[in-house]
């Protein structure tokens, strides 16, 4: 990963009275796989559309390789897009769909032929040249849409929820294929999704957005293990979020417990939020060996693990993921390792 290829500076977009993208700053590097992740309406698609040139920012700048991109219309940007639900040209066959961009650039016929063939091979659709796009399955249409964009050899590929219309199994397959493609051709992918698992699986960098504001930027591991606030912790994976007080460095307290943690630098008695992932809570059969004691309220089988709700003596509910189930009603102890506790500055209550 090298130079910066796209920079967003103080980017703002309003639709009427609603600010959908609120003063965001973001730097994207060459060959990076960046995912904009957030619930619907968080501004991720609008951000993508501004980079593609389909929405004009109200304020702020977009830079592409250091040059200001704002005044350049979509059709002159060296950026291509894979649209939601593909937006293929239904009056053209597969070959013509993929060749569309090349024909506009007046590339010689035999060259077009060669490049389209190469793309069809890349997306595993050899022999589909003459097929009508309507006759293809969702997954195949998706591949045509990707080929149609990639054949132009863009420096940046924008993908707007490209797998949203596919079923789960096909999604998983396409995730891996897309990732392979991105690695092999080495271009920057900016990917929009609301699926946190997809974001964690595929990205080099995840940008979590909410209400038009970037909440956190980081690697999937950072985002999952060290969420910066309640929103991120809650949106990414399952979590127990607890309002607590930082007693001193490395000591956090809530209810009737004081836990060791690895965080420092907070003021004495500063109110904080802490996150404990359900899989980081260990259960011991002897309640006295646990830092927190509680009663198992419910057990649900989830396939890989059991999801148990355990209510502590102080009335707080904990979600716990374990591969061994404890019967409902049993009184158990719970332990958490210091490095499994993530302490966050108190934000707005959710």
């Amino acid at each position: 990963m090298g130079r910066n290829i796209i920079e967003l500076k103080n980017l703002t977009k309003r639709f009427g009275d609603v600010t959908v993208v609120n003063n965001i700053n973001l730097t994207i590097k060459e060959n990076e796989f960046v995912t904009l992740l957030g619930p619907s309406g968080c501004g991720k698609t609008t951000t993508l559309r501004m980079i593609g040139g389909f929405e004009e920012p109200d304020e702020g700048q977009i830079f592409f390789e250091g040059k200001l991109l704002n005044p350049i219309p979509a059709y002159k940007r060296n950026i291509n897009t894979v649209f939601q639900r593909y937006a293929l040209f239904t009056h053209m066959n597969v070959f013509e769909n993929i060749a569309f961009g090349l024909r506009i650039k007046k590339i010689p016929k035999d060259e077009i032929e060669k490049r389209v063939k190469r793309m069809l091979k890349l997306v595993d659709l050899e022999g589909f040249e003459k097929r009508n796009v309507d006759s293809l399955s969702g997954g195949q249409q998706q591949r045509v849409a990707i080929a149609r964009a990639l054949v132009n050899e863009p420096k940046v590929l924008l993908l707007d929820e490209p797998l949203g219309a596919l079923d789960l199994k096909l999604r998983k397959e396409m995730q891996i294929e897309l990732l392979d493609m991105q690695r092999s051709i080495g271009i920057t992918f900016i990917y929009v999704t609301h699926d946190q698992e997809e974001a964690l699986t595929m990205s080099d960098t995840v940008v979590v957005m909410n209400n038009g504001v970037i909440q956190q930027v980081g690697t999937p591991q950072d985002i999952y293990n060290e969420p910066i606030n309640r929103f991120v912790a809650d949106f990414i994976g399952e979590s127990n979020i607890i309002e607590a007080v930082m007693l001193e460095d490395y000591k956090v307290a809530f209810d009737d417990v004081v836990l060791d943690c690895v965080d420092k630098g907070f003021a004495k008695n500063e109110p904080v939020d802490i996150v404990i992932r359900p899989e980081d809570i260990r259960i011991v059969t002897n309640p006295d060996e646990g830092m927190i004691k509680g009663t198992v309220k419910s057990v649900i089988f989830k396939g890989v693990h059991y999801e148990m709700m355990i209510e502590s003596d102080t009335g707080r509910e904990y979600m716990v993921h374990r591969t061994i189930a404890f019967p409902v009603g049993s009184y158990v102890g719970m332990n958490v390792q210091p490095f499994d506790i993530q302490v966050m500055k108190r934000g707005d209550p959710l």
Binding site: G52, G53, F54, P73, A74, Y75, K76, I79, N80, T81, F83, Q84, R85, Y86, A87, L88, F89, T90, H91, M92, F100, G101, I104, K105, R148, A149, N152
Partner: protein
């Protein structure tokens, strides 16, 4: 039993609908001038038809008006549909209601209104006014035929074309128009059929200098029904029937057909 009743019921309805036309067609091949009796098969009336200068002239006007009004109303209607499709929800429903009104309006009202308008702005009634009238009543149908195709189309398709380097006008010509072509063709066929079909509006807007086939048939019929009228009406019915079959076939398949 139930099935037989259903069939008979349907048969009677179709008989009611088509008996007059069948009689008309049969008698257009009748050798006898009398309308009551069959005097043997002949094609004379069809030959007479094309010998008659008045009829040839009316045919020429009919086709000219049909072709021109189809062409113009299809272009105007398609552009209007593109605009309406991009409107907000509220303005779109307002415009669509305004658009539907002339479709439901009785022809005679449209005809009289147009005549009054032409006279009040002092345009002499004739070929031009008839052409304008035909364009006016065809446009709403073109819009109604094109809009569904636009609504069906993926809303990002124009953006996809521009994303691939197409200028807005190239995207319109090479992507949007071909995508909605089936709707445009349906609209054009509908406009053509309506134009050939129309009597009432033409009657009020044509004045005396231009006469189309339907006006001619009307004035001939006033002087007594000659068998040539049967032949002429049969021909018109056949043309409209063929056009309707093409339109139905197209909408059935939901795709484009090459004419």
């Amino acid at each position: 039993m139930k099935k037989a009743v259903k069939r008979i019921y349907m048969g009677i309805i179709f008989l009611f609908l088509y008996a007059p036309i069948i009689v008309l067609i049969v008698f257009s091949f009748n050798k006898s001038k009398s309308r009551g009796q069959w005097g043997g098969f002949t094609l004379d009336w069809y030959v007479d038809l094309f010998k008659d200068r008045q009829i040839r002239e009316a045919l020429y006007f009919t086709l000219l008006v049909a072709v021109l009004s189809t062409l113009i109303s299809t272009i105007v209607g398609t552009i209007a549909a593109l605009g309406i499709n991009n409107m907000g929800k509220f303005s779109r429903s307002v415009i669509l209601n305004i658009n539907n009104l002339p479709v439901l309006n009785p022809d005679i009202v449209t005809g009289v209104a147009l005549m009054t308008l032409f006279i009040s702005v002092k345009i002499e009634l004739g070929f031009v006014t008839m052409l304008i009238a035909h364009i006016v009543f065809s446009i709403p149908y073109v819009i109604l035929a094109v809009l569904p195709k636009l609504r069906q189309m993926n809303k990002h398709i124009a953006e996809a074309a521009m994303d691939l380097g197409a200028t807005p006008s190239y995207a319109l010509r090479k992507v949007i128009i071909p995508e909605i072509a089936p709707g445009i063709i349906s609209g054009a066929l509908m406009a053509f059929t309506l134009s050939i079909d129309d009597f009432v509006i033409s009657f009020f807007t044509a004045g005396t200098s231009a006469t189309n086939l339907s006006i001619l048939i009307y004035s001939m019929a006033k002087r007594g029904v000659k068998p040539t009228i049967n032949a002429l009406s049969t021909l018109m019915f056949t043309v409209v029937l063929i056009l309707m079959l093409i339109i139905n076939k197209k909408s059935e398949k939901g795709e484009e057909i090459l004419l």
